[in-house]
């Protein structure tokens, strides 16, 4: 694992070491992929957006001033491009249950138990997908990325108080949706 900090790598990139960018991609690709994937449940769509994000980072890195951390800046780009894609598509797709079934079959589970789990999984994902944009962003960054509110506040440029309220409403809506769906 390379010990150089993000800022050092960025400085090297700005000085003409193109390979420093590769290290940044390798460092953050998984985190960024999962943020995007939580917002765009389809892998192919997420993959496309992830590539766009890193291309944009490559193009904009020269103008990165370091006012915020690279990580915050990168997350902001990731969230914004993902939401652009959601708006562009404007389709609320139903989660592909078949795919999930195929991917998560476990020999150890009884068929009924497995079916129930898959049903719950599909419902939860649907619930997240249906959240209002703002709540969805906050939920993904907080629940899945486990980012502190202060960090999310820098990424989304929103007050911590507002984020807490958004997160609360997001979690509540998910619970209500799942409860209603399982009834």
């Amino acid at each position: 694992m390379d010990q150089r900090s993000d800022l050092e790598l960025i400085r090297e990139f700005k000085d003409g070491n193109d390979k420093a960018f590769n290290l940044l991609v390798l460092r953050y690709q998984e985190k960024i992929y999962w943020v995007v994937r939580r917002l765009l449940p389809d892998h192919d769509e997420a993959d496309d957006v992830v590539q766009d994000i890193f291309v944009k980072v490559y193009r904009s890195l020269d103008s990165f001033k370091g006012d915020s951390s690279f990580y915050t800046w990168l997350y902001r780009i990731a969230v914004n491009l993902s939401l652009n894609e959601i708006r562009r598509k404007k389709t609320r797709r139903t989660f592909a249950l078949d795919e999930t079934v195929a991917q998560h079959e476990s020999d150890e589970m009884l068929p009924l138990e497995r079916m129930e789990r898959e049903e719950r999984t599909a419902l939860i994902k649907e619930a997240i997908e249906r959240l209002p944009e703002k709540q969805k962003k906050v939920f993904v960054l907080r629940y899945y990325e486990e980012l502190p509110y202060e960090e999310i506040s820098k990424i989304l440029k929103t007050s911590v108080g507002g984020l807490k309220a958004n997160y609360f409403h997001a979690v509540k809506k998910i619970a209500e949706y799942v409860k209603h769906g399982l009834r």
């Binding site: 590769n22 991609v25 390798l26 690709q29 998984e30 992929y33 994937r37 449940p41 892998h43 993959d47 992830v50 590539q51 890193f54 291309v55 490559y58 193009r59 020269d62 103008s63 999930t100 991917q103 998560h104 789990r117 898959e118 719950r120 999984t121 419902l123 939860i124 994902k125 629940y143 108080g161 807490k164 309220a165 997160y167 609360f168 979690v171 509540k172 998910i174 619970a175 209500e176 799942v178 409860k179």
Partner: protein, 221 residues
């Protein structure tokens, strides 16, 4: 129990379950929920949501996805670069590029307006016609009020127009004729071309191009 209290508590409910709030906040939430059915119900919902989320099967990623991502990003950057103009501006210059580009666009829009506005077209055509005339002819016509008027119109369209139009000579008629042809070729409305006192009013204020050409051909210059 006021709604304001509930609003404050709601922001802490998830934190209570996540274990991310302080001991003091925890005591406030617990005291509040013990006396508030609404917040208690919300806390139950949160428990249910977190429980459901814990049981969600993880998404999967195709094998070797992360191994192949960087080469694919690189390929896209390369592909993207080919589409761009291969000029590498230094950073200090890039700062000026956006305002400079905006200025250039604005200037060209203003230029286009004047270039393609009917009056500008008239001025331009007049300049072209006059500049194409043989030197002696320009000098000759320049002595007359008419040609002076035409020349004046080429630069100052509103000035001396009346004077010009009131004294048409063969030269101005020819110039006007060429100008009309030019206008016709450019598809502009002829009626804008000259003002009401125009001696060719009966011809050029007619929007029917065919009849204008016919009348012009019938006019002895």
């Amino acid at each position: 129990m006021s709604n304001m209290d509930c609003d404050k508590i709601q922001g802490l409910l998830v934190g209570l379950r996540e274990g991310t709030i302080s001991q003091e906040e925890r005591e406030i939430v617990e005291r509040h929920t013990a006396a508030c059915p609404q917040c208690t119900a919300d806390l139950t919902l949160i428990d249910e949501a977190l429980e459901a989320l814990r049981n969600v099967a993880d998404d999967t990623v195709p094998n070797h996805y992360f191994t192949n991502l960087l080469p694919r990003v690189r390929a896209r950057i390369e592909q993207d670069s080919r589409k761009r103009i291969p000029i590498a501006f230094p950073a200090w210059l890039q700062r000026f590029l956006a305002p400079a580009s905006a200025g250039a666009v604005l200037a060209s829009m203003i230029g286009m307006y004047f270039l393609f506005s009917p009056m500008a077209d008239t001025q331009f055509a007049l300049r072209e016609i006059v500049s194409d005339l043989p030197k002696d002819e320009i000098e000759g016509v320049a002595e007359s009020v008419t040609s002076a008027g035409v020349l004046a119109r080429a630069t100052e369209p509103s000035q001396r127009l009346e004077e010009t139009l009131a004294n048409p000579t063969a030269v101005t008629r020819r110039i006007e004729r060429e100008l009309v042809d030019d206008q016709l070729n450019h598809g502009h409305s002829l009626s804008i071309f000259l003002a009401a006192e125009n001696p060719f009013e009966d011809i050029i204020e007619n929007d029917d191009v065919d009849s204008i050409i016919k009348k012009l051909n019938d006019t002895s210059l």
